[in-house]
Symmetry: C2
Subunit: 215 residues, 2 copies
C-alpha cells in the first residue's frame, strides 16, 4: 500500500489517536495543515450552497473560480500532513547520526542543518496556503449564501489558526539554524504572513458580527 | 450499523468531502467540534511527551490529571460532531411541517422554536468544552515538555477557533428565536465565553512567543 493510499484510509478517530499518542508525529505541524484544509472545505461548502440558488446568481463565475481554488488548497494542505511528518523524521534521523570522529561530527552537523531548513517547507506552505484560504473566506462572506455565514466564519477561524500554527512550527526550528541570513529572511516572511492574516481575520470577524446581528 | 460505529469509520478525506459538499451538514458546527477535539488531542500529546522524561518529573501527578481530562474532552467533542448534524436536521424537519391550517401553523411554529433552542446545545457545548481545553493548553505550556511548545500552541489556536466557532453557530440560530429571555441569557453567556477565551489565548500567545524566542 502506498503512503498516499494509507493516508486516504486514515479515519478521523485514528488520526486523533495518532496525534494524542506519545510520538512526536503527527503533531502541531500536521494538525495545522488539517485545520487549513478544513477551512478550505468550508469555503467549498459555502460556494456549493450558493451556486444555482435563486437570487444569488450575481457572482456565479467568481464563485466557481473560488470553488476550484479552495479545492486545490484543500488537496495540497491534506498532502502537507504527511510531508510534515516525513520532514520531522529526517531531522530526527540527522540527530541520530554517529558523532565519534571529527568527520562524523561535521557530517552530522551538516545533515542537521540541511534537514532543519527542509523542515521549514511544510509549515511555511501551510501558513502561505492558509492565508490564501482566509482570503477566499472573505470573498465567500461577501458573495456567498448569507445563510451559510457561520460556516464561512468557522472557515476563517480555522484558516487563521492554521496560518499561525504553520508560523509557530517554522519558528521552533529556526533557533537551531546557523544560517542567520536564512533565519532573518524567514522571520520577516513569517511576520508578513501573521500581519496580513490578522488584518484579514479582523475584517472578517467585524463583517460576520455585523451580518449575524442584522439577521 | 449504528450511528456511532458509522462515525468511527469515517476517514479524514470522507469527512472533508462531506463538509465541502452542497448539503448543510456537516458544516461549521461540526468542524468547530472537530477543531476542539484536535486541540484536546494535542494537549494529550504534550503530556505523553512529558511523562517519564528525565528532568520533567516535577508535575507528573498534575499532568496525569490533565491527560484524563483532555481525553474526556476529546471524546465528548467528537460525539458533538454527530449531535450538531442531528440537531440541525431537526430544525430543517420542523420548517418542513405542513402549514395549511391555523392549527398546523401553530404546531409548526412551536416545533421550529423548540428545535432552534435544542440546536443551540451542541455548539454551546463545543464552546464551553473548548474553553476547558484552552485552559489545559495553558497548563501544559507551563508544566509540559518545552520541546513540544509548538504543539501546545497549535492546540491553543485550535481550541480558541473551536470556541468562537461554537459561539457563531449558537448566534446564527438566536435571531429566529422568540423567547427573548432565553436569547439575552444565551448572548450574555456567549460573551463571557468569548471574553475569557480571548484573555487566556492572549496570555498563551505571549508566553509561547517568549519561550520560542528564548530557545
Amino acid at each position: 500500500m502506498s503512503q498516499e493510499e494509507k493516508k486516504d484510509e486514515t479515519t478521523v478517530t485514528q488520526f486523533l489517536d495518532a496525534v494524542a499518542g506519545g510520538s512526536a508525529t503527527p503533531g502541531g505541524g500536521s494538525v495545522s495543515a488539517l485545520a487549513g484544509s478544513l477551512g478550505a472545505a468550508l469555503v467549498e461548502m459555502v460556494v456549493n450552497l450558493t451556486l444555482g440558488k435563486k437570487g444569488l446568481e450575481a457572482h456565479e463565475a467568481g464563485l466557481k473560480k473560488i470553488l476550484e481554488e479552495a479545492n486545490s488548497h484543500r488537496q495540497s494542505l491534506i498532502a502537507t500532513i504527511e510531508k510534515d511528518i516525513t520532514a520531522y523524521q529526517e531531522v530526527m534521523n540527522a540527530y541520530l547520526l554517529p558523532r565519534a570522529s571529527e568527520e562524523e561530527k561535521k557530517t552530522r552537523k551538516e545533515a542537521i542543518q540541511k534537514s532543519l531548513k527542509k523542515a521549514a517547507d511544510p509549515p511555511l506552505f501551510t501558513a502561505v496556503t492558509s492565508l490564501k484560504v482566509l482570503k477566499l473566506c472573505q470573498e465567500v462572506i461577501a458573495k456567498g449564501n448569507p445563510n451559510a455565514i457561520s460556516d464561512a466564519a468557522v472557515g476563517a477561524l480555522l484558516a487563521h489558526a492554521a496560518l499561525y500554527g504553520g508560523v509557530f512550527n517554522v519558528l521552533v526550528n529556526l533557533s537551531a539554524l546557523e544560517d542567520k541570513h536564512f533565519v532573518e529572511k524567514m522571520k520577516k516572511e513569517l511576520r508578513r504572513l501573521e500581519d496580513e492574516g490578522t488584518r484579514i481575520k479582523e475584517q472578517i470577524m467585524a463583517k460576520v458580527g455585523e451580518k449575524i446581528n442584522s439577521k
